[in-house]
Structure formats: structure tokens, C-alpha cells
Symmetry: C2
């Protein structure tokens, strides 16, 4: 599976940027993953850009209304999609305004990371660590403990 992580606006928290780079570096040894940043602007314009950037891929949005998973379940989800031949997946984190209802309808899946509202750069760090954790589970590496 080839991943695209799509976020809106330049990161404002330097440590969150460093955290993301850390996990992307680790992930690039085991899969293909890139980070794409969409320029901030009015939500409808941003959402057009998000749709364009995720065209032709499984479109996953991160949203408080989404499905909660355990780390093992995420690893199983990736394995199943690999078996099914899913080639590309996009993980989309919106800005502080969240996603519109119309945009959410165009997503294939909606995931949630926490019952709490996470600052969107922290959500990105949590997400990157979960994707990394999922690969360590799939590769039976000693990182995840139940």
C-alpha cells in the first residue's frame, strides 16, 4: 500500500513537524508514504484541493464522528487491503474547522483517533505513530505490546 498523508496549512508547532518527520523516516523503510500539504484558504476551496490530491486512492478522513479502532485492528485492516490489492490510500486531516458534510460523503472511510478533540497537528502525530505501529505489528517487530 502506498500512503499519502494530506494536511492543510503549514505546521505551526515545530515539535509536531519533527515528530512527523521521525515517523515518516521510519515508515519509508517499510512502505511508500509521502506528506502533502494543501494551502490554507476558504473551506470549500481547500476541500476541492483535498479531493484532487486524493484522487484515485482510497480516501480516508480523520474525524471525531469516525470509527474507533484498536492498534491490532488497524494492522489487520492494512493486511486485508494489501491482500485485496488496494494500491493507494490517502489519510486526510482537515484544519481546525473540520470537514463539511458534503466532503465527508465523498470519503470511503472515516476514522477517529480519540474521543477528545485533538489539535490537528497532534492528530497527525498520533496517526503517523499508529501507521508505524501497524507495520511493526505486521512485521512482528518488538514495538507493540498488548
Amino acid at each position: 500500500m502506498q500512503w499519502k498523508v494530506i494536511t492543510v496549512g503549514k505546521p505551526a508547532l515545530p515539535w509536531a513537524k519533527a515528530a512527523l518527520e521521525d515517523y515518516l523516516y521510519r515508515l519509508k523503510r517499510v512502505t511508500r508514504i509521502e506528506h502533502v500539504v494543501i494551502k490554507e484558504g476558504p473551506r470549500d476551496q481547500v476541500e476541492v484541493q483535498l479531493l484532487n490530491a486524493s484522487e484515485g486512492s482510497l480516501r480516508i478522513i480523520l474525524d471525531e464522528r469516525g470509527k474507533a479502532r484498536r492498534s491490532l485492528e488497524l494492522a489487520q485492516w492494512i493486511e486485508q487491503h494489501d491482500l485485496r490489492g488496494t494500491k493507494r490510500a490517502s489519510l486526510i486531516i482537515g484544519g481546525a474547522e473540520g470537514h463539511s458534510a458534503k466532503f465527508r460523503e465523498q470519503a470511503d472511510e472515516c476514522w477517529t483517533l480519540s474521543s477528545y478533540t485533538l489539535q490537528h497537528e497532534i492528530a497527525l502525530v498520533v496517526l503517523a505513530e499508529q501507521i508505524y505501529r501497524a507495520y511493526t505489528i505486521m512485521r512482528k517487530e518488538p514495538y507493540h505490546r498488548e
Copy 2:
């Protein structure tokens, strides 16, 4: 409310340390909060230290089995405890091994941040941001959006 955030072992991720410092700095303008680090060691010894460090305070452990909340609910929880006169609360994040059943029994509350297993330093960052967010909600500052 006076907070003590108690963790085990020196932070290994420099960006997580920077993130925690960022939120503690912001929080110190609105409440009293300190970070206490317990030395790593065998779990039973570590847990004795965690109990000692949180003596005389409301003891809250962070655990996957805990209660999930929304950010607004956390702000309400703090307000209620302030009204009730709760003076001190300790937030305890264990190491990679988690907490023992015996230790969990000695906690007043058990909170969970995510259905996913979070690396414990990331859990600490998520927690610090939630406490900060709760204070911005209580103070009606324009940080949190529903």
C-alpha cells in the same frame, strides 16, 4: 486544582519533551502543574514510587481500560472538582508495560485517551494538550471549537 503529571523513565523522543514543555508553559499561566519523573525499574518498585509521588492527591491513571471523554466533559470534570474543593490531582502514565491490576485498584479514576495503543510519550503530549484545552474552555478562550 494543583496538578502533578507523573511519568516513568527519561523521555526518549526529543520532540515529545519539547511538546510537553510547550503545554506546561502555557498551563503554568492558568494553574499549578508540575512534571515528576520516576526512575525506570522493575514494575513493582516503580509502582511503589508512583503511589508515593501521588500520595494525598486524587490519583488518576491513564490506561486503555479507562473512561473515554470528550474535551468539553473534561473541562466540566475539572470545574466540578474545583467546586467540590479537590485540591490536588495526579495524572499517572505508566511505561510500556502498563499498570498492574493491583496498582489500578489504588487509583481513584482511570482515563483513556484513545482506542489505539499510544506510545507513552505521545500519550503524555495528548494528555497535556487536553488539560490545556480544558482550561481554555473553562476560561472561554478561543482555542477549542466543537
